[in-house]
């Protein structure tokens, strides 16, 4: 199967300007050599802590940012350097859902106008056809038809996120980049939205890049998961494999840090010390070594490459082979 989206060695370095001449002496290496692919109809979960570059990566893929290196190809054609005019047809196929449904909806437009806009921009359909499509979209995401003439503030957080989803699917895209789509929602509402997203994926054969920091949520919706740390992917595997046989020490501590809603479980957890370092001056060698419980001399100088450690399972750690042996004990 040819992948729908293929990202190769993608880099997004933001200049940090300072001084009286406003020169950029440093770069924020938000995304620093990421490769990944997503197949049609598949969900790739992208997990990491704040500042790891996961949102930047998502924005590069929808080309809200112009990446500074590497390539992105969609459906076999290179989209890395498309000019704004040439991006318009692409946007029919790649859409985005944002975290904060209040800030991502124009508060001065009615829901009808918000949902009609993508159709207008793409020049699709005449007035009545567009109106029919808006009604259809509202129906698909489970909002009443009378929502058309209402404004975003009249809706709750969960309903606003449904509007955001309706807008994203308006053009029948093939890939949706979802940036923390349920993080701002309450637990009981979160499950409603997750169910809707899974249903839509089955119905329209959508592919998702699902970006989130909550590993339990990501594991629930994803076929495969990639773990990101300081601008790079440190481990990637199928969801079940990643959860049961995590190799990378960072993935393991991430899994171990998740609070489990079961008072009988009394796990000794590996608590990481320290914070995520700044992506402006990442540590030499493996970026994770200052926090890693198993770091050796080599980890301080040499960045480990992402190596195959099992079927469709890659991990970037010098100690991959030694860690493999004890992998079963974490499951």
């Amino acid at each position: 199967m040819t992948p729908l989206l293929e990202v190769n060695d993608l880099k997004m370095h933001f200049p940090v300007r300072e001084g009286i001449f406003n020169r950029s002496r440093y770069f924020n290496r938000a995304v620093d050599g990421v490769s990944l692919h997503i197949n049609p109809g598949e969900t790739l979960g992208l997990v990491g802590e704040s500042g790891c570059g996961k949102s930047t990566l998502g924005r590069c893929i929808v080309r809200l940012y112009q990446p500074t290196g590497g390539s992105i190809s969609f459906d076999g054609s290179d989209i890395t350097h498309l000019r704004p005019g040439a991006l318009r047809p692409l946007r029919q196929n790649i859409q985005m859902i944002f975290q904060d449904p209040m800030e991502s909806l124009n508060s001065r437009h009615t829901v009808g106008e918000i949902l009609e806009e993508p159709l207008l921009v793409q020049g699709l359909g005449k007035g009545p056809e567009r109106a029919a499509r808006v009604r259809e979209l509202l129906n698909i995401v489970g909002l009443p038809a009378r929502s058309v003439s209402r404004y975003p503030f009249e809706f709750s957080g969960g309903q606003r996120q449904r509007i955001g989803i309706a807008r994203a699917i308006a053009l029948n895209p093939r890939l949706i980049v979802c940036d923390e789509p349920v993080s701002a929602l309450d637990v009981s509402i979160q499950s409603q939205v997750l169910n809707l997203m899974v249903d839509l994926q089955k119905e329209f054969n959508l592919a998702y890049l699902f970006i989130a920091h909550d590993l339990a949520v990501v594991k629930h919706v994803s076929d495969r998961i990639a773990i990101m740390y300081l601008g790079r992917i440190v481990e990637t595997a199928e969801s079940e494999t990643l959860y049961k046989e995590a190799r990378h020490p960072y993935t393991r501590s991430l899994i171990s840090a998740i609070p489990i809603p079961d008072p009988h479980r009394n796990v000794e957890r590996e608590i990481l010390t320290g914070d995520v370092p700044s992506p402006i001056a990442p540590p030499a060698g493996c970026h994770f070594h200052p926090r890693c419980p198993r770091a050796e001399e080599r980890c301080k100088v040499e960045y480990p490459s992402l190596e195959l450690v099992g079927e469709a399972h890659r991990s970037a750690c010098h100690l991959n082979n030694q860690l493999g042996a004890s992998a079963d004990s974490t499951g």
Binding site: E49, V198, P259, P263
Partner: protein, 326 residues
């Protein structure tokens, strides 16, 4: 629960004046916090969990908010009727508080040292040198590297996790008997959250204080709390030990919440069970049970009159006509 509680909240009613009239954010909330224990208050946004904390601390926004009924007994004294000066003596001294957002809880124009020493000097009458010495000690205790240097730094120079440690240090500086933590880890990453929760647990053991932990995360509750209070739309739906709540949930809302969270061991892309609809607004609350419009078991009785709280086992209380017996 035979021992004398440290804090007893009894039939607490808190109201807010708004442009469209008075709304009742808390309507008869009762629970106890025993000395040295951790009580979790869990619920969704708008259920009144933060208002409960602000009512206890007497920090309701003025002049809109007020305690309109019930009492809050802390070591036998009713906090609801104390004067401002009397309350100032309790706050920060006997009851410490940690807020969700560590950036807004700290004053950006004062050094960490100044904010830390302020409470110590005020409540403990310490000399400046003595207060600084204790301040450095407590910063060291909450795991801040080179605490003497950090004393002269400003909040923006610290990361989110470090800032939350400073807020905890300030809250604990006077060794309070009760720590109220309102979503202390919600703004933090999961690896930092684990550090902070562990720190609160350790300090609690060391100082023997009680903790009232407010959160929406059932995972955090299960791992840190002994007793749990489940709130819904300004009322307590169910309360009991952490085992009562997780093993024998009796209220349909508690059951719904527990079933709707994705867990690491569920089948990927399986359907999560949901609680249909959403929390009613405080202005159009149902006449009967507040969960009635979302409840799968709702009957005519539920629409008529709100259910009273019943004790179904030692310490396990539920407000529901159709409580599920386990």
């Amino acid at each position: 629960m035979s021992e004398q509680p440290l804090l007893r909240v009894d039939q607490l009613v808190t109201e807010f004046d708004t442009d469209e009239g008075t709304v009742r954010a808390l309507d008869g909330v009762s629970f106890d916090v025993s000395p040295g224990k951790t009580v979790g208050i869990v619920g969704e946004s708008g259920c009144g969990k933060s208002v409960t904390a602000l009512s206890i601390m007497r920090l309701l926004p003025q002049p809109m908010g007020r305690i309109a009924g019930g009492n809050i007994r802390f070591r036998g004294q009713d906090l609801a009727t104390l004067t401002f000066a009397e309350m100032a003596h309790i706050r920060g001294n006997h009851i410490g508080m940690v807020f969700q957002e560590p950036m807004t809880a700290l004053n950006p124009v004062h050094t960490i040292g100044k904010q830390l020493v302020e409470g110590l000097r005020l409540h403990k009458n310490l000399s400046l040198e003595e207060a600084v010495k204790q301040g450095v000690d407590i910063l060291d205790r909450v795991g801040i590297p080179s605490p003497d240097i950090r004393m002269s730094e400003y909040p923006h120079q610290l990361s989110g996790g470090m800032r939350q440690r400073v807020v905890i240090a300030i809250a604990l500086a006077c060794r309070p008997a009760l720590l109220i933590a309102d979503e202390p880890t919600t703004a933090l990453d999961v690896t930092i959250q684990a550090q902070i929760l562990e720190l609160i647990k350790d300090l609690q053991k060391e100082m023997g204080m009680a903790v009232m932990l407010i959160t929406h995360d059932l995972g955090v509750i299960a791992e840190t709390c002994e007793d749990v209070v489940v709130m819904y739309a300004g009322k307590v739906a169910e309360q009991g030990s952490v085992y009562d709540i997780f093993d024998r949930p009796a209220h349909p809302y508690t059951r719904g919440l527990l079933q709707s969270i994705p867990r690491l061991d569920t089948q990927p892309k399986s359907r999560l069970s949901v609680i249909e609809g959403m929390v009613p607004g405080l202005r159009d609350l149902p006449a009967g049970c507040r969960f009635e419009n979302r409840c799968p078991l709702a009957s005519e009785e539920c629409r008529q009159k709100p259910p009273a709280e019943e004790v179904i086992a030692d310490g396990h209380r539920v407000s529901c006509y159709h409580r599920v017996s386990v």
